[in-house]
C-alpha cells in the first residue's frame, strides 16, 4: 500500500520563536512537543524568561503536546507569572483543563 499523505493535523515540526522587544517576553511555539524534545522546549523557555518575572507562551501553533510539556509548564508557572495563549478549540485547551494548569497560570484564548 502506498503511504497515504499525512492529513490533519498537519505539520508536526517543532519550532520556537522569540518575539523581539516584547515585555514580558513572548515565545511562540509550534509543532509537536513530547518526551523526546521537551528538553528543547524547557531550554527555550528558560532562556527567554531569564531575569524576567513574567513570560508569555503562545501555544496556538502547537499541533501536539503531552504531559511532559504540561509538567514543564507547571515548573515555569511555579517560578514566574506565566501567561499562555491558546486557540478557542482543540486539544491544548482540553489538556490545560484536565491537568489543572489553567488554575496556576493565565490562559488567554486567541479570538
Amino acid at each position: 500500500m502506498n503511504q497515504p499523505p499525512i492529513d490533519p493535523p498537519g505539520d508536526a515540526r517543532f519550532t520556537v520563536t522569540l518575539a523581539a522587544n516584547d515585555q514580558p517576553p513572548t515565545v511562540a511555539v509550534s509543532g509537536d512537543i513530547d518526551m523526546a524534545n521537551v528538553g528543547e522546549f524547557e531550554d527555550a523557555m528558560a532562556k527567554a524568561s531569564s531575569g524576567c518575572p513574567a513570560l508569555t507562551v503562545d501555544l496556538t501553533g502547537v499541533t501536539y503536546c503531552d504531559s511532559s510539556a504540561v509538567r514543564a509548564l507547571f515548573t515555569l508557572a511555579a517560578a514566574r507569572k506565566l501567561t499562555m495563549i491558546v486557540n478557542p478549540t482543540g486539544h491544548i485547551k482540553t489538556l490545560l483543563g484536565i491537568s489543572g494548569l489553567d488554575r496556576v497560570a493565565t490562559v488567554v484564548t486567541k479570538e
Binding site: 497515504p4 499525512i6 490533519p8 493535523p9 509537536d32 504531559s67 511532559s68
Partner: protein, 322 residues
C-alpha cells in the same frame, strides 16, 4: 467535524442542516439550486444504514418522492425495490444499504445517478458497479453515491487525495475538483469502510513517539475519526507509549519494544499499547505517570492497565458516535 483541506467558493457549495450524518459518512451538495438535490442516511440497526441521493428537477415532486424511497428502504432494505416506482420526471436517484459489519453493499441507481467504490490500496482503480447489485466493500474503501451532473467525479474518487483522506475532506475535494467545470447540480454522499487494523512496533525510546504519530495520523484520517476525538486518542496513545519508554530504562535485561494496535469496529475505536518492559510502581515514579494515567482516563471512554513480569498493556476504547 474536520474541515481542513476544504476550500471552495462559498457560492459553489451550500451546507444544509441535515448535512450532519452518522460517523463514517460525509455529504456535500452544490448550489445554486440545492432544492432539486436531496439525500438521506437512515440507520436500520447497529451496523446497517440505508442511503439515498437524488436529483429531481421538479421540486414540487421531490418531498413525496424522497419520503417514498426512504420509507421503502426502511421497510424492506431492498434498494432496487425502493426505486421501482420512479418515473422519468422524478430525475435520478441512487440508493444503497450498507452493512458495515459484513462489509457489504447492495445498491441500485436510476437516471443521472451512480454508485462508485474506490479502495485505498488500489490507487486509480475505481469500480463503477452495475445499475443494481451487491458487492463486498474492501477494508478502508470509499463508497460514493452521487446524483446530478458530474463529468469526471468518479475517477477522481480513486485519487489518493480522496481515497485516503478523512471522508469530510475527501467529499470537499471531490466537489472542489468539479468547481472549475461549474456544474451546479450535484450531491455526493460518501461512506468509508473501517480500514484494516494498524499495528506498529518500535523501540521503547522517546524518539519513537514522533514516528508513532506519523503512522497514527493518516490511519485516523482514513478511519474517518473527526479532529477532536483524533487529537484525544493521539494523546491517550502517546501517554501510554511514553510510559512504555520509561519502563525500558528500569534495569531492563532485554531490548524493550512497544507495540500499538488500533482497530475500528462500528463506532468504536479500540487501542492497545503493550511493552515487554518491567513495570515501575507508581510510588517510584511521581509526576509523569500520575499525569499520564489521569489524562488517559479523561480522554477515552474506558481504559484498563494490566502488568505482568512480561510487560505492561494499556487497553483503551473511544466511542466515535457523533
Amino acid at each position: 467535524m474536520v474541515d481542513e483541506g476544504v476550500s471552495s467558493p462559498a457560492n459553489v457549495r451550500q451546507l444544509v442542516a441535515d448535512d450532519v450524518v452518522p460517523f463514517g459518512f460525509a455529504v456535500r451538495r452544490t448550489s445554486p439550486d440545492a432544492t432539486a438535490l436531496w439525500h438521506s442516511v437512515t440507520p436500520l440497526d447497529d451496523d446497517r444504514f440505508a442511503l439515498a441521493v437524488g436529483y429531481c428537477p421538479d421540486t414540487a415532486r421531490l418531498p413525496a418522492l424522497r419520503a417514498r424511497i426512504v420509507s421503502a428502504l426502511r421497510a424492506g432494505g431492498d434498494p432496487a425495490a425502493a426505486l421501482s416506482g420512479m418515473r422519468p420526471e422524478d430525475g435520478g436517484a441512487a440508493c444503497a444499504v450498507i452493512d458495515r459489519a459484513a462489509a457489504a453493499l447492495s445498491y441500485s441507481a436510476l437516471g443521472d445517478a451512480v454508485v462508485v467504490l474506490a479502495a485505498p490500496d488500489q490507487p486509480g482503480r475505481m469500480l463503477r458497479p452495475a445499475t443494481t447489485g451487491r458487492v463486498d466493500i474492501p477494508a478502508g474503501a470509499t463508497v460514493a453515491l452521487r446524483a446530478g451532473v458530474a463529468r469526471d467525479l468518479d475517477g477522481y474518487l480513486a485519487d489518493s487525495a480522496c481515497a485516503a483522506a478523512h471522508p469530510d475532506v475527501a467529499v470537499g475535494r471531490l466537489v472542489d475538483h468539479l468547481a472549475p467545470h461549474a456544474e451546479p447540480w450535484l450531491v455526493v454522499l460518501l461512506y468509508r469502510q473501517a480500514p484494516s487494523p494498524l499495528e506498529v512496533t518500535l523501540p521503547a525510546d522517546p524518539r519513537s513517539l514522533a514516528q508513532l504519530r506519523a503512522r497514527l495520523r493518516p490511519w485516523l484520517a482514513l478511519a474517518g475519526v473527526d479532529a477532536e476525538p483524533a487529537a484525544d486518542v493521539l494523546l491517550a496513545i502517546g501517554e501510554a507509549a511514553s510510559n512504555s519508554t520509561e519502563h525500558a530504562v528500569i534495569g531492563a535485561a532485554r531490548p524493550v519494544e512497544l507495540t500499538v494496535r488500533t482497530a475500528l469496529a462500528g463506532d468504536r475505536l479500540r487501542m492497545t499499547v503493550t511493552d515487554n518492559g518491567t513495570w515501575k510502581p507508581a510510588a517510584a515514579c511521581p509526576g509523569h505517570r500520575g499525569h499520564g494515567i489521569k489524562l488517559i482516563t479523561a480522554l477515552v471512554d474506558s481504559s484498563d492497565l494490566t502488568t505482568s513480569e512480561n510487560g505492561t498493556t494499556v487497553d483503551m476504547l473511544k466511542e466515535l458516535r457523533r
